[in-house]
């Protein structure tokens, strides 16, 4: 009876092995690495000894083996220092870029006092139709509703939530961010008109990476014109930040006096490794309001 039970158990073990062999993807088998490490552990000293023995046999005369070994050691050292040098070069480049980003954010900030904080993008979370980005900047560094920019003046999004170590950012291309009031500003330089002289529009995200709004047909909006944020529901640090450029102008059949403008942000957050958060210095809370 006992023997029969043992045999039955063996059949079950074989069935389990068969299922594991045929139906489990390799990437789901990483848990076996721990088991394999435990199994290999007792054989490790002998394996090391055998490897050294094989190297001694395969490497030719003893003197040459020693020299080969030294040469290999120096080669390995050279590659190590080369890797360190390259790592430092990359680090210096990254630091230079960070400094440039911080300086641009200060220049574009106008008279609003804020502290620019570089926040690396560490992940993205899809929730329904929305894609929310996770930043490595906690509540001690950034505030809720703080504005995220890139390259100093290009609006990226707004902080939706902060936790101890990270925060969540909604990009301006996400419909969940809501309508944004913005002015159409001509592309040409040297235009000294006041911001309020430009055409005003209410931009909404379309969900495909673009935004759209309506303007007066006579307002003079043209392709490649900038859209500058001027929304009282956004923090003051976001004022006059560039939402994007007009990439298409379409007539609206039901309103001949108005035109639909399609706006494309300059930077796609999906392609950025970090953003600059403009943290207001006036108080603990972010001050909202457009016109002063």
């Amino acid at each position: 009876m006992k023997r029969f039970g043992s045999f039955q158990l063996l059949i079950l073990a074989c069935a389990a092995a068969l299922i594991l062999s045929l139906f489990v993807p390799t990437r789901a088998l990483r848990w076996t690495n721990g088991l394999a490490a435990m199994v290999r552990l007792p054989a490790a000293p002998l394996a090391a000894l055998a490897t050294r023995t094989r190297a001694a046999f395969a490497g030719g005369p003893a003197g040459l083996v020693e020299e080969e070994h030294d040469l290999e050691h120096y080669r390995s050292e050279m590659h190590h220092y080369l890797a360190l040098y390259n790592a430092e070069r990359l680090r210096a480049h990254a630091l230079q870029e960070r400094i440039e980003q911080l300086e641009r954010a200060r220049v574009e900030g106008g008279d609003v006092h804020f502290e620019p904080v570089i926040a690396p993008v560490i992940g993205r979370t899809a929730q329904g139709n929305s894609v929310i980005y996770e930043l490595r900047a906690g509540a001690s560094e950034v505030q809720k509703n703080a504005v995220a920019v890139y390259d100093g003046a290009h609006l990226i999004g707004r902080i939706a939530q902060t936790s101890a170590l990270t925060s969540l950012l909604i990009p301006i291309t996400d419909p969940a961010i809501g309508p944004m009031q913005a002015y159409v500003a001509p592309e040409r330089a040297g235009d000294d008109r006041r911001l309020s002289d430009f055409a005003l529009t209410l931009l909404t995200a379309r969900g495909d990476g673009l935004l759209e709004g309506e303007v007066e047909s006579q307002a003079g909006a043209a392709l490649r014109d900038y859209l500058l944020l001027d929304d009282p529901t956004w923090p003051k640090t976001g004022r006059a930040m560039i939402v994007g450029r007009i990439v298409r102008i379409e007539p609206i059949e039901e309103s001949p006096l108005r035109a639909r403008i399609i706006v494309q942000p300059t930077y796609d957050l999906a392609n950025l490794s970090s953003v600059t958060i403009k943290v207001e210095q006036a108080g603990s809370a972010v001050t909202l309001g457009g016109d002063e």
């Binding site: 062999s21 390799t26 076996t32 490790a44 394996a47 094989r54």
Partner: protein
């Protein structure tokens, strides 16, 4: 059969498999210490114990052979060797009446048969997995015929290895406390 003896010999086979056999590898062909031990148990132990021992040795063999899949990750597939060795053990159980199990040459010849039979199952499983590249990306370029030939060459090489190993195993046979097996005995078949 004493399972404590099996544990000690399995550990020794593991050390030989990982530590020593790399010294004797010829190109991609290498012998298998697990196959020699599995065969030795299959010709000597009661049926179910022999099959269990072969299965456990197969699991050890699976855990000592890694699969590397893109992008440079490692995993161990537990199953092909376990099933292959169990199949090899089952085959030897059918033939062991013909084996003069105290002869080293018999151990060597049947080791090769054991390893060759196991190779058929192992290659069959890998082939089946290779039909699903999403599930097993490491087997995208798997060539069953070439792999089977390589493993059969390894089986012949195992026969060579089985000569000294078989001699040692026979010398230490008493520690296993195998029951005397013969047709008509309760543990026979």
């Amino acid at each position: 059969m004493k399972w404590s003896a099996f544990a000690i010999f399995a550990l020794a086979a593991l050390m030989v498999e990982i530590g020593l056999l790399s010294l004797f590898q010829i190109g991609p062909v290498r012998p298998s210490a697990f196959a020699v031990l599995g065969l030795f148990i299959a010709v000597s132990a009661p049926r179910v114990a022999a099959l269990w021992a072969c299965f456990i040795l197969g699991v050890l063999a699976d855990l000592t052979s890694a699969l590397v899949y893109p992008p440079g990750e490692v995993a161990h597939l537990v199953g092909p060797h376990a099933l292959g060795y169990t199949f090899g053990g089952a085959m030897v159980l059918q033939l062991r009446g013909m084996v003069m199990r105290r002869r080293v040459t018999a151990i060597a010849v049947f080791s090769a048969l054991f390893a060759a039979a196991a190779a058929i199952v192992i290659v069959a499983i890998y082939t089946a997995r290779s039909w699903f590249p999403d599930m097993a990306p490491e087997l995208a370029d798997f060539r069953p015929a070439g792999e089977l030939l390589r493993r059969w060459a390894g089986a012949l090489y195992t026969a060579v290895l089985a000569l000294p190993f078989g001699y040692l195993l026979l010398r230490w046979q008493k520690v296993w406390s195998f029951q005397m097996l013969a047709p008509g005995n309760a543990n026979w078949r």
